[in-house]
Amino acid sequence: MGMSRGDRLFSFFNHLVMIILAIAMIYPFWYLIMASLSDPKLTALGGLYLWPRGFSWDAYITVLRDQSFWSGFRVSILVTIAGTAIGTFLTATTAYAISKRRLQGRMVVSFYILFTMLFSGGLVPSYLLIKELGMLNTLWALIIPGTLSAFNIFVMRSFFVGLPEEVEEAAKIDGANDLMVFFRVVLPLSKAVLATIGLFMAVMYWNDFFSTILYINDKDKWQLQAVLRNLIDQAVQSSGAGPNGDQIHVSAFTVRAASILLATLPILLVYPFLQKHFVKGAMIGSIKG
């Protein structure tokens, strides 16, 4: 199919804009890559622009040898997978129910959910609750409290509202009840939004460090981001001097950069796998198929 001249011009500029943006978006990561590969002795020199200063893999070796890094890695993977699975499912069931106009009490429930987006009781009551539930110092404390967020529910709901009524009606005529419609018709049709919310949840769980701070004491149950935060925090704080000038051990800048990169890589790899659900016409395709 031939393109009009205007379309070709548009396409050219579109590609150009994307390339420029892509470079801009890569730059912060490139900066960290440069830093992580630099010679640690030379990182005190300012002005890191386009290439590493010196070259060394030492930073990566240091991080990969660190046991707390690996244990954090395991915990984060487990928490992210479990939390995302449970959370996405529950978000979908809740959102589907309130997407039905005919449901009695739908507005009350919606407001009930919205209210939690704006008001929260703070840390202490949450901590006491987790303690009462016997979840302190367990991975459940990292997984369960974060499963539902008002934002995700409302976004998912807006997608469900947009689903074509006819498909569901057709299934009902065939004798399906609401449960069957939800599982057999609605979920398969909603891969794009499930992928979206799933991604949001995965990233939320992966980046969470605060739950560790609140609920975890055992050193082998720290989430990776909590381990990382500590590493960066300490270095940012001290520039080689403790609060009163005494010298403490601080990770080299190169090691910090390498840790950030290694800790971010796994979650970056999730998106390309979900990408096929974002392809144009994906939903219609699945109706037909």
Binding site: L45, F209, A226
Partner: protein, 528 residues
Amino acid sequence: MSISKRKIVSLTLLTTILAGCSNVNNAPTGTEGGDGQEGTGPLNVSITLMGGPKTPDSWVETALEENLSAHLQRPVDLENLFLPGWSDFKTKINLMMGDRKSMPDLLWHSDMEKEYNSWIQAGVLVDLVPFLQQHGKNILNYYTEDTLFYSWDDGQLFRIPGDVAELGSMTTMLRKDWLDALNLEEPTTLDEYISVLRAFTNEDPDGNGLHDTFGFVGDHDWRAFAPFFYPNGVDVEQFIVQEDGSVKFGATMPAVKETLKILQELYAEGVIDPRMVTPNSNTGDLFAEGKVGSLYYWISFLNEAHPKQMSFKEINPDGQYVALEPMQGKDGFQADVPTDGKGWSFVSVTDAADEPDAVVQVLDRMASVEVNTLIKFGLEGEHYTFEEGVFKSLINEDQGKQLGLDNYTWFVTRKDEANIRNTPEVIELFERRIETSQPMREKIVFFKSSNRPQWDEFSADLIKLRDETFYGIIAGNLPIDAFDSFVERFYQQGGEQVEEEANLLYQSQRDERESFAAWYQENIVPYK
């Protein structure tokens, strides 16, 4: 990639709401299921460690446990509770302290005066006096009378300092090689100092043909500007005793205006590194980079084994920093920045400890020179060498971290001969700075009490007003006369009440110190 200390302290404080201690009062009486007989069986001590997860079961932990077991003649097992780093440790401590079951035996805390007072009121901290009298020789001999005063609670001690800085821990530093290159004398007065800084900026001291050096840099805090404020006898962050015996907030004193004028000129001329007016630069790195002629910074950075000093030598093989005596003002006044002897972090024993006297024994052992050296530097020959007073590390920073070398720091950190990293010159410098900081120590009021309602009420606004005005003047965004309206607004916006409170406290603190001195003679001196 760095943000100053001030920015970090507790990012989460905003959302933090502290733990209720409601469970504390109905906690069980009597000891809960201690293992074995008291005093002879294995001793389990839970201890909060600052700075996040380290290598599990680190080398240091084992070494320390062995040492303690040998000394106490019973197996000692340390149960480490890692605090999550500077941003969040207060949140965690508050949650832990909310319930007796989650309290550590040995609690490390810092900058939590309000909470500390409520723990005392709730009766969850142990008075250490009797135990220190029995087992605390190392601790009692190390801390001075003045230091213990700040932790004294009317006859009781519910905490001891975990770390007290050297009484003068900062100094003016100057590039000696630059002085020589430009044929300049070491400055002794503020005026000479300023002309040296100008020369460092404009006369290409590193001889690279580029106009790429600065005269002066430092952290984004007022302490860093001490070489300019102190010759005039002012400190803009402290309450200063005036000639008539009253107390005034330093920032409002007339001498400040002159100093700000000088700083404004130097900034405009490019003598002051522009990175200094924002809190985003890492002074340690600028120190190492070697493009700056002078700073007011930590003495410890002059140790040859300090990583930043090593980095500096690597980048500038011929470079040399020297420490200068404080600059003299017009009337000959000179002083270095004095540290309060109070300590910045503290250690308490909680009521959760089954055997508080054994816990104090552990603490006192940790306060010994031998253990201090072991947990901070490792083993001689294996991790470091120490020849003719010169310490040389055999491992790098990250190896040190993995061994756990900083895990148990700030539980009575000794600054004396136990800190073997200090070279003889640095030790001498620390000694000298005690003297040179004395003139200002006599002028500054360090408050003991944390019960300062007026300060709590107004200080955030007043500090903002000060910083906004002073940095604005320095960077040239505001004219120098902005200082006058600052003083006016300062007193309108609560400065009046704050100073009144400061004066009252200053008086009552003097009385308290007298009764402390008597108590100290009776209860501590005989047990030293």
